[in-house]
Protein backbone atom coordinates (compact mmCIF):
# COMPACT_ATOMS: atom_id res chain seq x y z
CA UNK A 1 0.00 0.00 0.00
CA UNK A 2 1.26 3.48 -0.76
CA UNK A 3 2.14 5.40 2.37
CA UNK A 4 3.47 8.57 0.82
CA UNK A 5 1.93 10.16 -2.21
CA UNK A 6 3.69 9.30 -5.41
CA UNK A 7 5.70 12.40 -6.21
CA UNK A 8 5.52 13.60 -9.77
CA UNK A 9 7.84 15.96 -11.51
CA UNK A 10 9.15 16.59 -14.96
CA UNK A 11 12.75 15.54 -15.11
CA UNK A 12 14.98 17.91 -17.03
CA UNK A 13 16.50 16.54 -20.20
CA UNK A 14 20.28 16.31 -20.57
CA UNK A 15 20.37 19.58 -22.50
CA UNK A 16 18.16 21.30 -19.91
CA UNK A 17 20.46 20.08 -17.15
CA UNK A 18 23.44 21.46 -19.02
CA UNK A 19 21.70 24.79 -19.55
CA UNK A 20 20.68 24.97 -15.90
CA UNK A 21 24.22 24.29 -14.79
CA UNK A 22 25.66 26.98 -17.04
CA UNK A 23 22.94 29.47 -16.14
CA UNK A 24 23.41 28.64 -12.46
CA UNK A 25 27.10 29.53 -12.73
CA UNK A 26 26.22 32.88 -14.29
CA UNK A 27 23.59 33.68 -11.66
CA UNK A 28 25.99 32.58 -8.95
CA UNK A 29 28.44 35.11 -10.35
CA UNK A 30 25.82 37.82 -10.01
CA UNK A 31 24.59 37.94 -13.61
CA UNK A 32 21.04 37.39 -14.81
CA UNK A 33 17.83 39.32 -14.25
CA UNK A 34 16.58 40.76 -10.99
CA UNK A 35 14.43 37.73 -10.20
CA UNK A 36 17.13 35.15 -10.99
CA UNK A 37 18.82 33.54 -8.01
CA UNK A 38 20.85 30.48 -7.34
CA UNK A 39 18.94 28.35 -4.85
CA UNK A 40 21.07 26.32 -2.45
CA UNK A 41 19.60 23.60 -0.28
CA UNK A 42 21.01 20.74 1.75
CA UNK A 43 20.35 17.26 0.36
CA UNK A 44 17.89 15.36 2.53
CA UNK A 45 20.00 12.20 2.51
CA UNK A 46 23.58 13.36 2.09
CA UNK A 47 23.52 16.82 3.66
CA UNK A 48 25.51 17.99 0.63
CA UNK A 49 24.47 21.40 -0.70
CA UNK A 50 22.80 21.29 -4.11
CA UNK A 51 22.11 24.36 -6.20
CA UNK A 52 19.80 25.26 -9.05
CA UNK A 53 18.75 28.53 -10.69
CA UNK A 54 15.26 29.76 -9.78
CA UNK A 55 12.89 32.65 -10.43
CA UNK A 56 11.73 34.42 -7.29
CA UNK A 57 8.24 35.88 -7.56
CA UNK A 58 7.40 38.94 -5.51
CA UNK A 59 3.70 39.28 -4.84
CA UNK A 60 1.93 41.36 -2.20
CA UNK A 61 5.23 42.00 -0.45
CA UNK A 62 6.00 38.30 -0.22
CA UNK A 63 8.84 36.39 -1.84
CA UNK A 64 7.64 33.16 -3.39
CA UNK A 65 9.26 30.13 -4.95
CA UNK A 66 7.27 28.07 -7.42
CA UNK A 67 8.40 24.68 -8.71
CA UNK A 68 7.08 24.56 -12.30
CA UNK A 69 8.42 21.03 -12.83
CA UNK A 70 6.53 19.73 -9.81
CA UNK A 71 7.96 18.04 -6.73
CA UNK A 72 11.54 18.03 -7.88
CA UNK A 73 14.59 17.08 -5.85
CA UNK A 74 15.15 20.64 -4.67
CA UNK A 75 11.52 20.79 -3.52
CA UNK A 76 11.89 17.60 -1.49
CA UNK A 77 15.15 18.82 -0.03
CA UNK A 78 13.56 22.16 0.91
CA UNK A 79 10.62 20.35 2.53
CA UNK A 80 13.00 18.39 4.71
CA UNK A 81 15.51 21.14 5.44
CA UNK A 82 12.83 23.74 6.13
CA UNK A 83 15.21 26.39 4.85
CA UNK A 84 17.02 27.44 1.68
CA UNK A 85 19.68 29.94 0.69
CA UNK A 86 19.39 32.37 -2.22
CA UNK A 87 22.68 33.39 -3.76
CA UNK A 88 23.47 36.06 -6.29
CA UNK A 89 27.05 37.12 -6.78
CA UNK A 90 28.56 37.61 -3.37
CA UNK A 91 25.20 38.05 -1.68
CA UNK A 92 23.80 35.09 0.10
CA UNK A 93 20.63 35.05 2.21
CA UNK A 94 19.05 32.27 4.21
CA UNK A 95 15.27 31.87 4.37
CA UNK A 96 12.89 29.56 6.13
CA UNK A 97 10.32 28.07 3.79
CA UNK A 98 6.61 27.74 4.38
CA UNK A 99 4.56 25.69 1.98
CA UNK A 100 1.65 27.59 0.44
CA UNK A 101 -1.60 25.70 0.15
CA UNK A 102 -5.27 26.31 -0.42
CA UNK A 103 -6.98 29.39 -1.73
CA UNK A 104 -3.85 31.50 -2.28
CA UNK A 105 -2.25 29.10 -4.67
CA UNK A 106 -4.19 29.66 -7.93
CA UNK A 107 -3.53 33.38 -7.78
CA UNK A 108 0.18 32.81 -7.16
CA UNK A 109 0.46 30.35 -10.05
CA UNK A 110 -1.38 32.75 -12.32
CA UNK A 111 0.98 35.57 -11.35
CA UNK A 112 4.03 33.33 -11.69
CA UNK A 113 3.14 32.16 -15.18
CA UNK A 114 2.23 35.69 -16.24
CA UNK A 115 5.55 37.02 -14.97
CA UNK A 116 7.85 34.29 -16.29
CA UNK A 117 5.90 33.00 -19.26
CA UNK A 118 8.91 32.83 -21.60
CA UNK A 119 10.75 30.31 -19.52
CA UNK A 120 7.99 28.35 -17.79
CA UNK A 121 4.97 28.29 -20.12
CA UNK A 122 5.95 24.82 -21.35
CA UNK A 123 5.33 23.41 -17.86
CA UNK A 124 1.73 24.63 -17.66
CA UNK A 125 -1.30 23.33 -19.53
CA UNK A 126 -3.01 26.74 -19.32
CA UNK A 127 -1.80 29.80 -21.22
CA UNK A 128 -0.12 32.73 -19.52
CA UNK A 129 -2.58 35.51 -18.83
CA UNK A 130 -5.23 33.08 -17.57
CA UNK A 131 -6.97 34.08 -14.38
CA UNK A 132 -6.58 32.21 -11.08
CA UNK A 133 -9.66 30.06 -11.69
CA UNK A 134 -7.89 28.40 -14.61
CA UNK A 135 -5.32 27.08 -12.15
CA UNK A 136 -7.72 25.78 -9.53
CA UNK A 137 -7.65 22.21 -10.79
CA UNK A 138 -3.89 21.97 -11.27
CA UNK A 139 -2.53 23.48 -8.07
CA UNK A 140 -1.50 20.03 -6.79
CA UNK A 141 1.13 19.77 -9.49
CA UNK A 142 3.11 22.85 -8.47
CA UNK A 143 4.63 23.21 -5.01
CA UNK A 144 4.82 26.82 -3.84
CA UNK A 145 6.90 28.12 -0.95
CA UNK A 146 6.89 31.44 0.79
CA UNK A 147 10.37 32.57 1.74
CA UNK A 148 10.47 33.83 5.28
CA UNK A 149 13.30 35.84 6.72
CA UNK A 150 15.18 34.76 9.82
CA UNK A 151 15.89 31.08 10.07
Amino acid sequence: MPVAEAPEFRRPSASERLFNRAFGVLVGLGLGLRHNYLLEVEGRRTGRVHSTPVNVLELDGKRLLVAPRGRTQWVRNAETAGAVTLKKGRRRRRFRVRVVSGADKPRILSAYLGRFRRTVQRYFPVPAGSGPTAFAEITDRYPVFELMAGE
Binding site: M1, V3, E5, G82, V99, M148
Partner: protein, 329 residues
Protein backbone atom coordinates in the same frame (compact mmCIF):
# COMPACT_ATOMS: atom_id res chain seq x y z
CA UNK B 1 2.00 -18.27 38.99
CA UNK B 2 3.10 -14.66 39.11
CA UNK B 3 3.16 -12.47 36.05
CA UNK B 4 6.45 -12.49 34.18
CA UNK B 5 7.30 -8.78 34.22
CA UNK B 6 10.77 -9.52 32.95
CA UNK B 7 9.38 -11.17 29.84
CA UNK B 8 6.90 -8.34 29.35
CA UNK B 9 9.42 -5.52 29.47
CA UNK B 10 12.08 -7.67 27.83
CA UNK B 11 9.89 -8.00 24.76
CA UNK B 12 9.46 -4.23 24.58
CA UNK B 13 13.19 -3.54 24.73
CA UNK B 14 14.02 -6.42 22.40
CA UNK B 15 11.63 -5.09 19.76
CA UNK B 16 13.24 -1.70 20.14
CA UNK B 17 16.68 -3.27 19.76
CA UNK B 18 15.65 -4.87 16.47
CA UNK B 19 14.57 -1.54 15.01
CA UNK B 20 17.00 1.08 16.28
CA UNK B 21 20.66 1.31 17.22
CA UNK B 22 21.61 2.84 20.53
CA UNK B 23 23.66 5.55 18.88
CA UNK B 24 20.68 6.83 16.87
CA UNK B 25 18.31 7.04 19.81
CA UNK B 26 17.42 10.50 21.03
CA UNK B 27 15.61 9.10 24.05
CA UNK B 28 16.94 8.08 27.41
CA UNK B 29 16.23 4.73 29.00
CA UNK B 30 18.38 5.23 32.09
CA UNK B 31 17.70 7.29 35.20
CA UNK B 32 18.96 10.87 35.37
CA UNK B 33 21.94 11.58 37.62
CA UNK B 34 20.95 11.90 41.31
CA UNK B 35 22.34 15.43 41.39
CA UNK B 36 19.78 16.41 38.78
CA UNK B 37 19.85 17.68 35.24
CA UNK B 38 17.47 20.46 34.30
CA UNK B 39 15.25 20.35 31.25
CA UNK B 40 12.25 22.58 30.65
CA UNK B 41 10.17 19.73 29.35
CA UNK B 42 10.21 16.02 30.07
CA UNK B 43 8.74 14.04 27.20
CA UNK B 44 7.55 10.92 28.97
CA UNK B 45 7.30 8.14 26.43
CA UNK B 46 6.24 5.19 28.57
CA UNK B 47 7.26 1.67 27.55
CA UNK B 48 5.31 0.23 24.68
CA UNK B 49 5.95 3.00 22.19
CA UNK B 50 9.53 1.77 22.09
CA UNK B 51 8.22 -1.10 19.95
CA UNK B 52 7.40 1.49 17.30
CA UNK B 53 10.47 3.65 17.56
CA UNK B 54 9.63 5.62 14.41
CA UNK B 55 7.00 7.37 16.54
CA UNK B 56 9.61 8.34 19.11
CA UNK B 57 11.84 9.64 16.34
CA UNK B 58 8.93 11.59 14.94
CA UNK B 59 7.88 13.27 18.16
CA UNK B 60 11.46 14.09 19.17
CA UNK B 61 12.12 15.53 15.70
CA UNK B 62 9.10 17.80 16.18
CA UNK B 63 10.36 18.82 19.63
CA UNK B 64 13.73 19.58 17.99
CA UNK B 65 12.00 21.77 15.39
CA UNK B 66 10.32 23.62 18.22
CA UNK B 67 13.71 24.28 19.76
CA UNK B 68 12.57 23.00 23.13
CA UNK B 69 14.91 22.24 26.00
CA UNK B 70 13.61 18.75 26.61
CA UNK B 71 14.59 15.24 27.51
CA UNK B 72 12.73 12.20 26.19
CA UNK B 73 12.60 9.33 28.65
CA UNK B 74 10.99 5.91 28.66
CA UNK B 75 11.35 2.19 29.14
CA UNK B 76 11.22 0.09 32.30
CA UNK B 77 13.32 2.54 34.37
CA UNK B 78 10.47 5.01 34.03
CA UNK B 79 7.64 2.53 34.52
CA UNK B 80 4.32 4.12 35.47
CA UNK B 81 3.23 0.93 37.22
CA UNK B 82 0.06 0.19 35.28
CA UNK B 83 1.24 -3.30 34.33
CA UNK B 84 1.69 -4.16 37.99
CA UNK B 85 -1.64 -2.54 38.83
CA UNK B 86 -3.42 -4.66 36.22
CA UNK B 87 -1.90 -7.75 37.84
CA UNK B 88 -3.34 -6.69 41.19
CA UNK B 89 0.08 -5.75 42.52
CA UNK B 90 -1.09 -2.34 43.71
CA UNK B 91 1.70 -1.72 46.17
CA UNK B 92 4.39 -2.31 43.57
CA UNK B 93 2.40 -0.20 41.11
CA UNK B 94 2.29 2.72 43.55
CA UNK B 95 5.99 2.37 44.23
CA UNK B 96 6.75 2.38 40.51
CA UNK B 97 4.70 5.45 39.74
CA UNK B 98 6.08 7.42 42.66
CA UNK B 99 9.63 6.35 41.86
CA UNK B 100 9.17 7.63 38.33
CA UNK B 101 7.86 10.95 39.61
CA UNK B 102 11.03 11.25 41.70
CA UNK B 103 13.07 10.67 38.53
CA UNK B 104 11.10 13.41 36.77
CA UNK B 105 11.83 15.75 39.67
CA UNK B 106 15.52 15.39 39.02
CA UNK B 107 14.95 17.18 35.72
CA UNK B 108 13.16 20.05 37.56
CA UNK B 109 10.86 20.38 34.54
CA UNK B 110 8.38 23.14 33.91
CA UNK B 111 6.09 20.56 32.36
CA UNK B 112 5.86 16.84 31.70
CA UNK B 113 4.41 15.86 28.32
CA UNK B 114 3.07 12.33 28.40
CA UNK B 115 3.03 10.35 25.20
CA UNK B 116 1.46 7.17 26.47
CA UNK B 117 -2.33 7.15 27.01
CA UNK B 118 -1.97 4.41 29.60
CA UNK B 119 0.62 6.26 31.67
CA UNK B 120 -1.43 9.45 31.81
CA UNK B 121 -4.56 7.43 32.52
CA UNK B 122 -2.83 5.67 35.39
CA UNK B 123 -1.39 8.82 36.95
CA UNK B 124 -4.37 11.06 36.38
CA UNK B 125 -7.44 8.87 36.44
CA UNK B 126 -6.58 5.75 38.41
CA UNK B 127 -4.23 7.06 41.08
CA UNK B 128 -5.39 10.66 40.77
CA UNK B 129 -1.99 11.80 41.89
CA UNK B 130 -1.16 15.44 42.34
CA UNK B 131 2.11 15.78 40.48
CA UNK B 132 4.60 18.50 41.40
CA UNK B 133 4.52 19.85 37.84
CA UNK B 134 1.88 20.35 35.18
CA UNK B 135 1.41 17.52 32.71
CA UNK B 136 -0.46 17.01 29.46
CA UNK B 137 -0.83 14.42 26.79
CA UNK B 138 1.46 14.96 23.78
CA UNK B 139 -1.28 15.70 21.23
CA UNK B 140 -2.72 18.45 23.41
CA UNK B 141 0.73 19.89 24.00
CA UNK B 142 1.46 19.93 20.27
CA UNK B 143 -1.80 21.72 19.47
CA UNK B 144 -0.62 24.58 21.66
CA UNK B 145 2.68 24.64 19.76
CA UNK B 146 1.03 24.86 16.32
CA UNK B 147 1.63 28.61 15.87
CA UNK B 148 5.34 27.94 16.31
CA UNK B 149 5.54 25.30 13.60
CA UNK B 150 6.06 26.05 9.90
CA UNK B 151 4.75 23.52 7.43
CA UNK B 152 7.00 22.86 4.46
CA UNK B 153 5.00 20.28 2.57
CA UNK B 154 1.49 19.73 1.32
CA UNK B 155 0.10 16.34 2.24
CA UNK B 156 -2.49 15.55 -0.39
CA UNK B 157 -4.46 12.94 1.48
CA UNK B 158 -7.94 12.40 2.74
CA UNK B 159 -7.52 11.16 6.26
CA UNK B 160 -9.95 9.73 8.78
CA UNK B 161 -8.98 9.41 12.43
CA UNK B 162 -9.36 6.31 14.56
CA UNK B 163 -9.81 7.65 18.08
CA UNK B 164 -11.35 6.67 21.41
CA UNK B 165 -14.29 8.17 23.25
CA UNK B 166 -14.15 6.21 26.47
CA UNK B 167 -14.14 9.38 28.60
CA UNK B 168 -13.41 13.10 28.44
CA UNK B 169 -9.65 12.67 28.49
CA UNK B 170 -9.67 10.32 25.51
CA UNK B 171 -12.10 12.60 23.69
CA UNK B 172 -9.78 15.56 24.29
CA UNK B 173 -6.84 13.61 22.96
CA UNK B 174 -8.82 12.59 19.89
CA UNK B 175 -9.89 16.19 19.33
CA UNK B 176 -6.27 17.29 19.61
CA UNK B 177 -5.21 14.65 17.07
CA UNK B 178 -7.91 15.87 14.73
CA UNK B 179 -6.83 19.49 15.19
CA UNK B 180 -3.25 18.55 14.33
CA UNK B 181 -4.32 16.68 11.20
CA UNK B 182 -6.57 19.52 10.11
CA UNK B 183 -3.67 21.94 10.33
CA UNK B 184 -1.62 20.05 7.72
CA UNK B 185 -1.63 21.90 4.38
CA UNK B 186 -3.34 20.00 1.61
CA UNK B 187 -4.87 17.41 3.94
CA UNK B 188 -8.62 16.85 3.95
CA UNK B 189 -9.97 15.51 7.22
CA UNK B 190 -12.72 12.92 6.86
CA UNK B 191 -14.90 12.78 9.96
CA UNK B 192 -15.71 9.27 11.14
CA UNK B 193 -17.74 8.57 14.24
CA UNK B 194 -15.51 6.79 16.77
CA UNK B 195 -16.60 3.33 17.90
CA UNK B 196 -17.23 3.42 21.68
CA UNK B 197 -16.76 -0.34 22.00
CA UNK B 198 -13.04 0.08 21.31
CA UNK B 199 -12.83 1.21 24.91
CA UNK B 200 -10.06 3.32 26.40
CA UNK B 201 -7.35 2.29 23.95
CA UNK B 202 -6.73 -0.56 21.52
CA UNK B 203 -5.16 -3.51 23.32
CA UNK B 204 -5.16 -7.28 23.13
CA UNK B 205 -7.24 -7.21 26.31
CA UNK B 206 -10.00 -5.24 24.57
CA UNK B 207 -9.86 -7.68 21.67
CA UNK B 208 -10.24 -10.54 24.11
CA UNK B 209 -13.06 -8.85 25.96
CA UNK B 210 -15.07 -8.24 22.79
CA UNK B 211 -13.92 -11.40 21.05
CA UNK B 212 -11.44 -11.07 18.23
CA UNK B 213 -14.08 -11.63 15.57
CA UNK B 214 -16.22 -8.79 16.92
CA UNK B 215 -13.20 -6.49 17.28
CA UNK B 216 -12.09 -7.22 13.72
CA UNK B 217 -15.63 -6.61 12.50
CA UNK B 218 -15.82 -3.25 14.27
CA UNK B 219 -12.51 -2.24 12.81
CA UNK B 220 -13.49 -3.28 9.29
CA UNK B 221 -16.70 -1.31 9.73
CA UNK B 222 -14.71 1.75 10.74
CA UNK B 223 -12.46 1.32 7.72
CA UNK B 224 -15.51 0.96 5.47
CA UNK B 225 -17.06 4.11 6.93
CA UNK B 226 -13.80 5.98 6.39
CA UNK B 227 -13.63 4.77 2.81
CA UNK B 228 -17.25 5.68 2.19
CA UNK B 229 -16.44 9.17 3.45
CA UNK B 230 -13.74 9.43 0.80
CA UNK B 231 -10.71 8.73 2.98
CA UNK B 232 -7.57 7.20 1.53
CA UNK B 233 -5.91 6.75 4.90
CA UNK B 234 -6.87 5.94 8.46
CA UNK B 235 -4.77 7.69 11.07
CA UNK B 236 -4.50 5.96 14.43
CA UNK B 237 -4.47 8.02 17.59
CA UNK B 238 -2.31 5.86 19.89
CA UNK B 239 0.75 3.71 19.33
CA UNK B 240 -1.15 0.65 20.57
CA UNK B 241 -3.86 1.30 17.99
CA UNK B 242 -1.26 1.51 15.24
CA UNK B 243 0.31 -1.77 16.28
CA UNK B 244 -2.99 -3.62 16.20
CA UNK B 245 -4.56 -1.92 13.21
CA UNK B 246 -1.62 -1.53 10.81
CA UNK B 247 -2.01 -5.09 9.53
CA UNK B 248 -5.41 -4.14 8.06
CA UNK B 249 -3.58 -2.14 5.44
CA UNK B 250 -3.06 -5.45 3.65
CA UNK B 251 -6.83 -5.66 3.09
CA UNK B 252 -6.73 -2.26 1.35
CA UNK B 253 -7.48 0.25 0.09
CA UNK B 254 -6.72 2.52 3.05
CA UNK B 255 -3.22 3.25 4.29
CA UNK B 256 -2.91 2.93 8.06
CA UNK B 257 -0.63 5.44 9.72
CA UNK B 258 -0.18 6.94 13.14
CA UNK B 259 -1.59 10.46 13.11
CA UNK B 260 1.73 12.01 14.10
CA UNK B 261 3.45 10.43 11.09
CA UNK B 262 0.93 12.16 8.84
CA UNK B 263 1.23 15.44 10.74
CA UNK B 264 5.03 15.34 10.71
CA UNK B 265 5.09 14.76 6.95
CA UNK B 266 3.71 18.27 6.57
CA UNK B 267 6.76 19.47 8.49
CA UNK B 268 9.09 17.61 6.15
CA UNK B 269 9.73 14.84 8.68
CA UNK B 270 9.45 11.21 7.63
CA UNK B 271 10.37 8.10 9.57
CA UNK B 272 9.41 4.74 8.22
CA UNK B 273 7.02 2.58 10.24
CA UNK B 274 9.22 -0.50 10.39
CA UNK B 275 6.76 -2.27 12.67
CA UNK B 276 4.05 -2.01 10.01
CA UNK B 277 6.39 -3.04 7.22
CA UNK B 278 7.36 -6.13 9.13
CA UNK B 279 3.77 -6.86 10.12
CA UNK B 280 2.68 -6.66 6.49
CA UNK B 281 5.61 -8.70 5.31
CA UNK B 282 5.27 -11.58 7.74
CA UNK B 283 8.41 -13.05 6.16
CA UNK B 284 10.52 -14.22 9.08
CA UNK B 285 13.81 -14.49 7.21
CA UNK B 286 13.40 -11.17 5.45
CA UNK B 287 12.56 -9.45 8.74
CA UNK B 288 15.56 -10.97 10.49
CA UNK B 289 17.81 -9.96 7.61
CA UNK B 290 16.41 -6.45 7.83
CA UNK B 291 17.01 -6.36 11.58
CA UNK B 292 20.55 -7.74 11.41
CA UNK B 293 22.42 -4.40 11.51
CA UNK B 294 20.50 -3.34 14.65
CA UNK B 295 20.84 -6.81 16.20
CA UNK B 296 24.60 -6.73 15.70
CA UNK B 297 24.96 -3.16 16.93
CA UNK B 298 22.88 -3.89 20.03
CA UNK B 299 24.30 -7.35 20.75
CA UNK B 300 20.91 -9.04 20.43
CA UNK B 301 20.75 -12.79 20.88
CA UNK B 302 19.67 -14.19 17.51
CA UNK B 303 17.51 -16.96 18.99
CA UNK B 304 15.59 -14.44 21.08
CA UNK B 305 15.17 -12.21 18.04
CA UNK B 306 13.94 -15.11 15.93
CA UNK B 307 11.42 -16.10 18.59
CA UNK B 308 10.10 -12.56 18.90
CA UNK B 309 9.79 -12.12 15.15
CA UNK B 310 7.87 -15.38 14.87
CA UNK B 311 5.60 -14.46 17.77
CA UNK B 312 4.92 -10.93 16.67
CA UNK B 313 5.18 -10.57 12.93
CA UNK B 314 4.85 -13.92 11.23
CA UNK B 315 1.14 -14.56 11.96
CA UNK B 316 0.19 -11.53 9.87
CA UNK B 317 -2.76 -12.19 7.62
CA UNK B 318 -4.11 -15.03 9.71
CA UNK B 319 -6.76 -14.69 12.41
CA UNK B 320 -4.92 -14.24 15.65
CA UNK B 321 -6.16 -15.44 18.98
CA UNK B 322 -6.63 -12.48 21.26
CA UNK B 323 -3.77 -12.66 23.73
CA UNK B 324 -4.45 -12.90 27.42
CA UNK B 325 -1.29 -10.93 28.09
CA UNK B 326 -1.46 -7.64 29.85
CA UNK B 327 -0.75 -4.97 27.32
CA UNK B 328 -1.35 -1.45 28.55
CA UNK B 329 -1.04 0.28 25.21
Amino acid sequence: MSYDYRAHFGEVTLTQDLMSRKDERRWRLTAPPPAGEHHDVVLYLGCNVLRTSHMVRTVTAIFDLLGLDYVAVGGPSYCCGIVHHQQGDTQAARGMSQGTIRLFERFSPREVVMWCPSCIYFYDEVQQLTLPFPFRQAAEFLVEQLPRLTFTREVRRRVALHSHVHNDARRREGAAGRRLLESVPGLTFVAVEPEPRFGRICTAAVQQQLGLGVWNGLLRDELARAQAGGADALATIYHGCQRLICRFEAEGPLAIEHYLSVFARGLGLEFEDTYKRWMLSGDREAILADATPCMEANGVDSAAARALVERTFVPCGRPEPAGARTEPS
